[in-house]
Symmetry: C2
Subunit: 324 residues, 2 copies
């Protein structure tokens, strides 16, 4: 796992150098601000790790790794406007700190910068890399739109939900790994396996997120337990419960979702009791394990030294056993 | 000029084919709507014309031409949010017809689609083409930010203004022509000359726009005469007047700009009288001609058959002698 930490440090260092402040400052200050808010840098680290797995050089892939991180942060800047999220990583979101217009335009520049970083010094596989990146970028936007649509929809199925988290979250993990592999001159089969590894791991990760919201240790999750329940968010847990509940349980659940008299704590308690009765936590973990196992089987299929693949498996396990 | 009309028709036809409607419809309907609102298609037509000038084939450059048009329309979709513009080409703007969120996200997808179109089937000069495109795309965003900053600034100089219109409007004309030239395998010198031709023509075009707002034939301009004056917009005319006015004229101008009692028609009449006294229209036309002549001198320097260059000169003249 040391390798991942090294790559995270490398990315952090490069991002700091990269955020030169230019005119107009209304455009470039929010970009520097966003890129310095922190973040786990998991995507660029995975890109570098995949590149290394196939014998690629760090310095060849670093620019693409930064591209992925800048792109990811672009989506956060625009999503925060759309979701009216005042906070990002404990600080004010860009639209809140400056304005919606500033967030729109500096986000646009970040999207363009990500393409610039991707194109930098990379000519042999540029067309292939751009192809994966652009397809993914459009999918991430589609995922965000589906997510917004779900808020007002009453007919979201489990399949709709899984498709949404695949688009909004998981494909970018797959894309990061595949670009790293392509830059490391992996063949198409290996590149596709590592993409599927990342995508399925991403879905499993998001399902874990849903579980942790209600069943995580509040001290470790770092946010209010049951936030999704309080806001009636259509997570895997709620959608699964709605799918299988019937009779009195269904009535109780509907009451909790529509009641205006229940205070937040009681709502969380009641919904959790219903979920427990329906065994929802275990069903979610079963679903998560399906995606996790698919991810690992793709990892196993990659034609690369077993000892170099170990770090991916260890990293995957740590994501699944995390407490926050 | 027939050639340009043919290219405009070609672009229109291709755009119609290209706007397939997919899911989620909240994302793809606004894109199809925007691309079918019309527009002069000048940028893609110029790209194809530049490509043809150097012997390039239309089918090789068509995708890049569409990329430029999609990019241009992306900027309009996002600008209309920022400028709170309810109308675009006589129809509702996207943010007004749908919502700000829809306009943000469908605009984002258009920006990504423009990169997709640019990368399509183009591998030999992809890196070079992307380089010009990305640099320009960032500049266009910078221009929009400067334009917004100018609204609340009291210290905008003529140089600031010329730089702003260069970034916001002119560089995309230069970029369109240069990409066409590169795809037609023009050498770097010729590609740079045609870029400078387009950029300078673009600045001249924008100055003409400023003049037409107040001095155009209302029947032909198709919008209210003096709209810029009414809104105190910092155009070349106003900035030049503020630069050279002194004494009583300066006082009168300041009164017109800050008065809350003047009705719109009187304000336009009074400001026009001040401009006439200061000979502003002629000064603007002189400035415009400087840029126009620079454009033409770059056109002259391009090493290409004179008879093939004629259409660019004729087109430039038509832009300068236009009445709308």
């Amino acid at each position: 796992m040391q390798k991942i930490l090294d790559y995270i440090a490398l990315v952090d260092e490069a991002l700091k150098k990269n955020t030169s402040k230019k005119d107009p400052k209304e455009l470039y200050e929010p970009i520097a601000y966003t890129l310095n808010l922190g973040g786990k840098r998991i995507r660029p680290a995975l890109l570098l790790l995949a590149n290394n797995l196939f014998g690629g050089k760090d310095e060849v892939a670093l620019s693409a790794a930064l591209a992925i991180e800048v792109f990811h942060n672009f989506t956060l800047v625009h999503d925060d406007i759309m979701d009216e999220a005042p906070l990002r990583r404990g600080s004010q979101s860009v639209y809140k700190k400056w304005s919606t217009n500033v967030a729109i335009l500096s986000g646009d520049v970040m999207l363009i910068q990500s393409i610039q970083l991707l194109s930098k010094g990379n000519t042999t596989s540029l067309s292939e890399v751009l192809d994966v990146f652009n397809t993914t970028a459009v999918q991430v936007c589609e995922g965000q739109q589906f997510d917004m649509n779900f808020e007002s929809s009453t007919t979201v199925s489990i399949d709709d939900y899984l498709k949404m988290i695949e688009l909004k979250t998981a494909v970018l993990l797959g894309c990061s790994l595949k670009i790293g592999a392509l830059l490391g001159k992996a063949n198409q089969t290996n590149a596709n396996h590592i993409y599927e590894f990342g995508k399925n791991l991403g879905i499993a990760f998001q399902l874990m997120d849903d579980v942790l919201d209600l069943y995580g240790d509040p001290k470790k999750v770092g946010k209010r337990v049951g936030g999704d329940v309080i806001s009636n968010k259509k997570t895997y847990l709620l959608l699964k419960a709605q799918e299988i509940a019937s009779g009195k349980i269904k009535k109780d659940l509907d009451f909790c979702l529509s009641s205006v008299v229940l205070d937040d704590a009681s709502k969380v308690e009641k919904v959790k009791a219903i979920f427990n009765e329906l065994n929802i936590k275990q069903l979610a973990i079963d679903e998560m394990n399906l995606f996790y196992n698919t991810a690992i089987s793709h990892l196993d299929s990659i034609d690369a030294p077993a000892e170099k693949k170990q770090v991916f498996e260890r990293f995957s396990k740590s994501l699944m056993n995390r407490e926050n």
